[in-house]
C-alpha cells in the first residue's frame, strides 16, 4: 500500500489567492467597481474630490504663520512660494487665538476659564460614564456654582447663597409633604427658593461678604467672550434644558388643568418664536422693564432665554419618547402600586429617555451651534470676534482662516457629543 504512486504523501504548497481575490484589488472590485453604475460613481466622485483637494491643500500648505498683518502674509507667501500664489494667512490665528478662545478676558487670569473647563470635564464624567462611582456626583452638582464663580469672580458668598436656595427647595420637597401635603410641598419647593433668590440672597451675600471677605478678582461680563462664552451658554442651556424639558413634558401630560395649560402655553409660545427674537427681547426689551441703573447681566439674560428656548424643544422631544412607550408600561407601574413620581422615575422616564437619546443629543448639538446667534446682539462670541478682528486694519479682508478655525472648534465639540450619544445607545441597548 505504501508505494501507491498516485497518492500524494505531502501537502501541496499553499498558493497565494488570485490577485483579483485579495487585498486592495479585491476591495476595489467589491466596493468601488462592482457594477457599471458603481464604477461611474466612483470615477465621478474621485474627480470631484481631487478638484476640491487640489484647491484646498495648496491653500493650507502654502500658508503663513508668522506675519503680523494680511499684507505681510501676502508678501511672505509670495516670497516663499512664488509670485501669485494663493495661501492661507493663519498668522491671524496665531496672533489672535487667545481672543477667539477667551474674548477680552484679562490674560493673567486665563487660568480661571481653563480651570473651569477642566473641572467641567471632571464634573461631567460621573454623569456621562456610569463606571465612575456615583459618590462623585456631589462634585458634579456643585460644579455649576464653582464654574460660574471661577469665570465671573467676585464674592464666594454669591454662589453659596445660590446653593442655599437649592437647599431650601430640597428641604421643602423632603420635609414638608408630611406637614402640608405633597402638592403644597411642590409649590413650596418652587416658591421658597424664588423668594430667597429674588428678595434676600443678594443682601445676605453682601452682608456676609462684609463680615467675612472671600473674593477673587471679578471679571466684567463685557470682557467674557470667544469660545468660552459659547461653551458657557451652550453648557448652561444643555444641562438646564434637560430637567426643565422633562418637567414640561410631564406637565403637558398632567391631569391638572392649570399645570397642563401653563406647560402647553409655554411650549407652544416658545416654539412659535424664533430664537433670535428671544435674544433681542433679552438684550433690548428687558432693559425697558427694569429701572435704569439696574444692570441685569446681559450674558445671564441670554443664558436664561437660550435655556427657555431649548427647554421647550426638549419637552417635545421627550414627549415623543413618552408617547412611544406602550400603555402597558404605565398600567404595570400602577399595578405595582407605585405612586406617580416613583412610576415616572423608575419605569417611565428611563425608557422614554432611552428612546429619545438621538433626538436629545441632536437638540444639544443644535443648541450649541445656535449660541453663535448671540453675535447679532453684540456679544463677543467667536463669530462676533471675527468681525472685531477684521476691523483691525492689519487683518481686514481675512475671512476663511478665521471661520475655518471657529468651525474646527465647534466641530470638535459637536462631533464628541455625537460620538457619545452613539456610545450611550450601544450601552443601553437591551433588544436582541
Amino acid at each position: 500500500m505504501s508505494n501507491l504512486s498516485y497518492v500524494r504523501t505531502e501537502m501541496l504548497q499553499e498558493q497565494a489567492p488570485p490577485v483579483t481575490q485579495t487585498g486592495i484589488v479585491m476591495w476595489l472590485r467589491e466596493n468601488m467597481f462592482s457594477s457599471i453604475g458603481n464604477s461611474i460613481l466612483t470615477i465621478v466622485s474621485g474627480v470631484l474630490i481631487y478638484m476640491v483637494l487640489a484647491s484646498i491643500v495648496p491653500w493650507f500648505w502654502q500658508s503663513s504663520w508668522t506675519a503680523h498683518s494680511l499684507g505681510e502674509c501676502r508678501e511672505a507667501i509670495a516670497h516663499t512660494y512664488g509670485e501669485g500664489t494663493e495661501g492661507a494667512c493663519f498668522s491671524v490665528i496665531t496672533e489672535r487665538y487667545n481672543q477667539l478662545l477667551f474674548g477680552f478676558y484679562p490674560s493673567e487670569l486665563y487660568w480661571r476659564p481653563i480651570l473651569a473647563f477642566v473641572l467641567l470635564l471632571l464634573a461631567t464624567a460621573p454623569v456621562l460614564f456610569p463606571a465612575i462611582p456615583s459618590k462623585y456626583l456631589g462634585f458634579s452638582a456643585l460644579y455649576p456654582f464653582a464654574g460660574f464663580w471661577l469665570i465671573w469672580g467676585g464674592s464666594l458668598w454669591v454662589p453659596l447663597a445660590a446653593i442655599f436656595g437649592f437647599a431650601l427647595a430640597y428641604a421643602a420637597a423632603v420635609y414638608l409633604p408630611k406637614v402640608i401635603g405633597s402638592l403644597g410641598s411642590v409649590i413650596a419647593a418652587i416658591l421658597l427658593p424664588l423668594i430667597w433668590w429674588i428678595g434676600l440672597s443678594g443682601s445676605v451675600a453682601d452682608g456676609l461678604q462684609n463680615v467675612v471677605p472671600l473674593a477673587i478678582q471679578s471679571v466684567d461680563s463685557i470682557n467674557i467672550g470667544g469660545f468660552t462664552l459659547s461653551v458657557m451658554i451652550g453648557i448652561t442651556g444643555i444641562t438646564l434644558s434637560l430637567p426643565i424639558g422633562i418637567l414640561l413634558a410631564l406637565g403637558r401630560q398632567s391631569n391638572l388643568f392649570v399645570v397642563k395649560t401653563i406647560c402647553v402655553g409655554f411650549i407652544e409660545f416658545i416654539r412659535g418664536v424664533p430664537l433670535i427674537t428671544l435674544l433681542f427681547v433679552a438684550s433690548t426689551l428687558l432693559n425697558y422693564f427694569m429701572p435704569p441703573g439696574t444692570s441685569f447681566d446681559l450674558i445671564l439674560r441670554v443664558m436664561i432665554m437660550v435655556t427657555l428656548f431649548a427647554s421647550a424643544y426638549m419637552a417635545e422631544v421627550i414627549r415623543g419618547g413618552l408617547a412611544a412607550l406602550p400603555k402597558g408600561q404605565y398600567e404595570a407601574a400602577d399595578a405595582l402600586g407605585l405612586d406617580y413620581w416613583k412610576a415616572t422615575r423608575l419605569i417611565i422616564m428611563p425608557q422614554a429617555l432611552k428612546i429619545s437619546i438621538p433626538n436629545i443629543v441632536s437638540n444639544f448639538i443644535g443648541l450649541f451651534k445656535d449660541t453663535t446667534l448671540v453675535s447679532i446682539i453684540g456679544l463677543m462670541d467667536p463669530i462676533g470676534l471675527s468681525t472685531a478682528i477684521r476691523a483691525n486694519q492689519e487683518w481686514n479682508g481675512i475671512v476663511w482662516e478665521l471661520f475655518a478655525f471657529i468651525a474646527l472648534l465647534f466641530w470638535i465639540v459637536c462631533f464628541s457629543m455625537s460620538r457619545y450619544s452613539m456610545y450611550l445607545e450601544r450601552k443601553l441597548k437591551t433588544g436582541h
Binding site: 499684507g71 501676502r74 489672535r96 433690548t284 432693559n287 425697558y288 441703573g293 463677543m380 468681525t387 486694519q393
Partner: protein
C-alpha cells in the same frame, strides 16, 4: 395691604428711575467709568487690538469724554453694539454715549429722542468698481449688478439715486461688509456701494488695490456723530463741547505736543479759555478748569485723531476733504469758546 406694597414698590422703582436719569454726569462719576457704545468692529472707527484695547476714530471721542469727565481716558467700558441694538442700548441707559458712526437723521433725532451732539465725520455713499469695467462715472452704471448691505440707509439712497437718474440696476443684497468684499472680489457684482470711508478701507485690503477705483459721485449725505439721550442737557453739553474742544484745538493749533506749554497761558485769549487758564468755562459745564486740556491730551486734537486712525498716513488713507477745518475749505466748524 398687599396693594399698597405693590404700589409702593412701583413708586420706588419710578423714583429711582427718575433719579438715575436725572444726572448722567453724576452716574458716570459714581460708577467711575464711562459706558461707551461702539461698533462691533469697523475699520478705522472702532476695533479691539490683540490685547483687547479698543482704538479708532469713534473710540477717540469716548476717550476724550472720559478724560474730560473722569480724568482717565482708559476709564471706559466699551459696549460693542450692532446696528440693531445700538439705539435701545442708549435709550435704556446701558450706554452713556453712543459713538458708533451713526448718521444724524431727522427721525433718529426727533422720533427716537436722541440728541446728536455734533458731527465728527462727514461721510457719503460712494461706488467702487473694478477698473476693468471701464466706467468713470456713476451715471454710466445703467443695468449694473450692485452689492449692497441690507437694512441700511445705503439701500434707500441707491434706489433714490438710480430712480432720479432714470437708470436700472440689479441689487445683490448682502448682510455684512466682509461678505460684500468676498462677493465683490468673486465678481458676483460689478459695483460695491457703501459709505465712502468704508469703501476706502475695503479697497486698502485688496491684494491689488490699484485694479479698483472709487467713482467720483457721492450720492448721499451721511453726517456721522456721537449722540446721547434726550432729557439730560448737561450731559449732552459735556459731550458736545468735548468734541468742539478737539475741533477748536486743531483750529487754534493746540496739539498734544504743545499742550503743556499752551496750558500755562498764551497771548491768545481763546486758547486760554479753552485750556482753562482764563475764565470759568469748565465750571459752567460742571467740570473743572482743565477738562478740555485732558480731553485733548487723550488722543490729540481732531486733526491728530483723524491722521492717526483714518488719515493719509494709515492704510485706509482718507483725505480730509469735507472733514477739513472750515478755514481749509471743509465743514468742520466749532462754535467759539466764549
Amino acid at each position: 395691604m398687599k396693594k399698597t406694597i405693590v404700589l409702593g414698590t412701583l413708586a420706588a422703582v419710578g423714583l429711582t428711575a427718575g433719579m438715575a436719569s436725572a444726572g448722567t454726569l453724576d452716574d458716570v462719576k459714581a460708577k467711575g467709568e464711562l459706558a461707551c457704545g461702539v461698533s462691533t468692529g469697523l475699520v478705522g472707527f472702532a476695533a479691539p487690538d490683540a490685547n483687547g484695547e479698543w482704538a479708532g476714530f469713534d473710540v477717540s471721542v469716548c476717550r476724550a469724554v472720559a478724560a474730560a469727565v473722569l480724568g482717565d481716558p482708559t476709564a471706559i467700558k466699551f459696549v460693542p453694539l450692532t446696528g440693531k441694538t445700538r439705539f435701545t442700548a442708549l435709550a435704556s441707559g446701558e450706554v452713556d454715549v453712543l459713538a458708533r458712526n451713526t448718521t444724524w437723521t431727522f427721525s433718529r433725532d426727533v422720533d427716537l429722542k436722541f440728541t446728536f451732539v455734533g458731527v465728527n465725520y462727514y461721510d457719503g455713499q460712494g461706488f467702487m468698481v473694478p477698473k476693468a469695467l471701464g466706467v468713470s462715472s456713476a451715471t454710466e452704471l445703467d443695468g449694473a449688478t450692485i452689492c449692497i448691505q441690507t437694512g441700511t440707509t445705503t439701500e434707500l439712497n441707491l434706489a433714490d439715486y438710480f430712480r432720479s437718474n432714470g437708470m436700472s440696476y440689479e441689487p445683490v443684497p448682502i448682510e455684512t461688509n466682509a461678505e460684500s468684499q468676498q462677493n465683490y472680489l468673486a465678481g458676483a457684482c460689478d459695483v460695491y456701494t457703501t459709505d465712502a470711508s468704508g469703501l476706502a478701507a475695503t479697497r486698502a485690503t485688496f491684494e491689488n488695490p490699484d485694479d479698483h477705483m472709487l467713482l467720483p459721485e457721492i450720492v448721499s449725505k451721511e453726517p456721522l456723530g456721537p449722540l446721547v439721550r434726550h432729557g439730560d442737557d448737561q450731559w449732552g453739553d459735556i459731550v458736545r463741547w468735548t468734541l468742539n474742544a478737539l475741533i477748536t484745538a486743531e483750529e487754534l493749533g493746540v496739539t498734544s505736543a504743545n499742550l503743556a506749554e499752551k496750558s500755562a497761558g498764551t497771548d491768545n485769549p481763546e486758547i486760554n479759555r479753552l485750556l482753562g487758564s482764563e475764565g470759568n468755562l469748565g465750571e459752567m459745564l460742571g467740570l473743572d478748569a482743565a477738562w478740555a486740556a485732558r480731553a485733548i491730551a487723550a488722543g490729540g486734537n481732531y486733526g491728530e485723531i483723524f491722521e492717526a486712525n483714518i488719515g493719509e498716513s494709515t492704510a485706509i488713507g482718507l483725505s480730509r476733504g469735507l472733514n477739513a477745518q472750515w478755514t481749509q475749505g471743509g465743514l468742520i466748524y466749532s462754535p467759539p469758546f466764549r
